[in-house]
Subunit: 288 residues, 4 copies
């Protein structure tokens, strides 16, 4: 399916501010025919970095005081890999590619070490594989309320569990934390999400099962086969869409994603297992 998407971010910059943005569509084989433009106003020089281990694309720009805005537009054809969930088992830790180790460890907001007893008690006896991660998502959906403003940028997965409320960021952190606590590698994914209302940057998580990264969204707010990936990381800290160093004030933010052919969203969600991560012959399927 081909999508057109983009965002417009505006700021009132008070002191010279170094911004690092991560909002461009990831370059990878399941994102075909990517065309894009990035415009800054004023038109300032920028630096780029594509992290070799993840493919995340960072753009840095130093902005003087005054108004500043960024416009990103892209079109991309997303070709997800689909599979029957029932056949997807767990990869034993001893068979995991070693490059995947960081996604088994606790990180700032994915406090899987603190949540280990809880995960073991709730999900330790569930059938391993896709089914276990589905149960984790169902549990989160049933126990955590989606409430705007329920969390802030320092909220960790264990705090979300206590608060019983959060936003997509928190749902993804908690899902990843339960997985890591059970020996399932999991990572945080930022994306443009077709079907999300109102449209916004979205966050989901991926679990590594049977040699591949599979997408999961415990919020159930978007179509898994309509997620156009931006970045992937241990948690939200690594792939904030905007990391500013300086004094400034956001003054506007618009995000959009549509079908390129203009057809509306179909009424039902996929029940297939969906994977859109990069694959390769040398990295355990899904690792760069």
């Amino acid at each position: 399916m081909r999508y057109t998407l983009g965002c417009r971010l505006s700021y009132e910059v008070e002191t010279e501010t170094a911004f690092i943005f991560n909002l461009e569509v990831a370059r990878q084989v399941r994102h075909r025919a990517l065309s894009e433009t990035l415009r800054l106003s004023p038109d300032l020089p920028l630096r780029r970095h594509e992290a070799p281990e993840t493919g995340n694309r960072y753009v840095a720009v130093t902005v003087p005081p005054g108004r500043f805005s960024l416009d990103y537009e892209a079109a991309v054809t997303l070709e997800p890999h689909r599979a029957d969930p029932s056949g997807i088992g767990e990869t034993p830790v001893k068979d995991l590619p070693l490059a995947i180790l960081p996604y088994l460890l606790p990180s700032r907001f994915v406090s899987s070490d603190r949540l280990a007893p809880f995960a073991q008690a709730e999900f330790g006896d569930a059938p391993p594989g896709f089914e276990r991660v589905s149960r984790i998502c169902n549990w989160i959906h049933d126990h955590i309320a989606y409430v705007r403003g329920a969390s802030d940028e320092e909220t960790t997965a264990d705090e979300t569990l206590l608060k019983r409320a959060g936003v997509c960021r928190d749902f993804a952190h908690l899902g990843a934390a339960f997985c890591r606590a059970l020996g399932i590698p999991a990572r945080f994914v930022s994306c443009y999400a077709y079907g999300l209302v109102p449209c916004d940057f979205h966050a989901v998580f991926e679990a590594y099962l049977d040699g591949r990264w599979w997408l999961f969204d415990a919020t159930r707010q978007a179509n898994l086969d309509g997620l156009v990936r931006i970045g992937v990381g241990r948690d939200a800290a690594e792939i904030a869409f905007s990391t500013p160093f300086g004094e400034m004030k956001p003054t506007g933010m618009e995000i959009r994603i549509d079908r390129a052919d203009g057809t509306p969203e179909r009424g039902e969600r996929t029940t297939a297992a969906i994977s859109t991560a990069e694959e390769g012959p040398d990295a355990g399927g899904g690792l760069r």
Copy 2:
């Protein structure tokens, strides 16, 4: 200076256990003429991984129930880069290589976001550069007691600050947290430490200043120019010397490092700034 070093780790394994070890000397230009042997008993097949972004060397082995031991021996010539500390300033965030971003962000044990007000209040007015990081180390040395058993594997930098006690791991986490909170990239380093009494795996931190990673040890227990690097990471989670998945019991641990020519440690510590990190033409000096 040439060193001989190594370790012997023993375990009583109760259920099949997948170990991931990170204890071999890093391969890099300032570690010259590295020769080494790694022996497992029983002699089991192992898998290796060298993380491309850090050079950390991981070894994985799956061990059946019974006794298990690992012997590592190495000889290496360490050639640190030395410089006059007084000339080392801070690199403004806007000029940092983007690949370094992860070391500016909070991580599981380096809670730099929580410690930002404390860091700003104590060190915000200090002279930037090497001097500021030296003051951070002095403060930690003066305010935190080195107490074995004061912390556990879930202890974070903010908890260490409250407990006023910790071990090398905690001193390094706190130092790195203060640095990141002030916009100075910092990372956790594990090493063999010449002069440490009693000998053990040691942990220090590196701060990125003026285009290079410099070593700092707030415990003041070892010589900065005698640290043979094993691994580097966001914090201790990433470079534990042993990460076991299974039921087992450590039954012995010996670590050693000596001068290859047998001369005893000299009486005084270097006052030079010391850097031993990998360097390269394309990554801002110090990044791979």
Copy 3:
């Protein structure tokens, strides 16, 4: 039922230590014919205090270096109030006696403010009154493992929820926290517990329902109608059996409680609602 009970505590005192003990049977109308002796060795002068608002009996003694022991023996006839649980409803906050307010508020280990969303989500729709508190106890019994050593003296109710494990102290804190979070006054009770194996000081909680304090034990380890009360408080901090100020080492602790007529414990537990708290005409039934 008449019980004989007591305890023997021994210490090796290293520096002069001021002990405050709270281990004597509470003096109240449902504890009839209380006879008791308290012996210290060496025989040091002691100070006594009976807190007017709770009836807790504190004994203070200043002990010089050396061996120290305390022997307490008592016999008491316990006459619990029994009622049919099905008729016990909740007292609306607006009708609560104001003296009870402290037991609605969060305290050091009863973090009812942090647990409010969790309590509301799990128990907000349960039938009010005895039934709701029973469900709280069932939930705790089903979700928290009784594990010696799982907690320490700083463990709070929210930490117990995450750790999914604790001892009687933690079960009582969590039960009280859920109650307070729902507007039900609750307090921590220490006692001698007939039927507890092995015998030890026990902790349960009381909830204030329909004008009276009712006993609840989420551990299900003792008979509710065999609990001889020692003290009552906001949480464990207020009624530690021993609060020492000085350097000393506990060297022995024996607790015992038996039926005075020597009959063994009957095989079944009461299903009646049990109350043993003090009552009075002027304090809302159950408040002194």
Copy 4:
């Protein structure tokens, strides 16, 4: 000195709300010739409770949906006890009246157990008595910024230490926590504060030294000899000026305190030690 003071609180009540207020001037010997009026609009029936152990005066009222306001006016002559600070030492724990024990223990927001190592390291060697508590106040004044909005109603003393910012509530919690951690009983005091700009309910703390409760204000924003006491408690939870149970919205709040003779505040602050707590022959001087 005679003061006139009062407050006006307004609410928009959405569902029937049970309010508990603690805002009337404490009745005690150093508050002479107290005259006061309390008016509710609408004129609803109220219940009163004066806590026997503290003298705190609580007023409860159940308010139907609609507008609600409360007006309190009082005049009182405050006669503080003054003393030379240099002669005020510490009461050893072994000589403390036992009724004071709660004020040595950690409470919800006064996390003296967590802060014990910090307190011991910073103030353990200070001269005991008034001087030590003065140093605690100086340290807090120098290290914690007074910032409106820096904390919320769940903020604890250890969090304030990390955030390096707070309001009067947080300054008082931190001061009390350091004292308790050092074996000095301390409690939280709410008051009308002559000289506070802008006028508001104020919070300070009292430390028990040499047989008497002495006032301390680490914010240095008000005159110690112009504090007209409302309530005293373990921490802010116990003596909130308003504890509502129901859905409502505060719509207005005015607090005032003036000299009855109209003379303006004198330019300088007292350097005497000030005590205004209740005294009695039987409770260790200052305990009821």
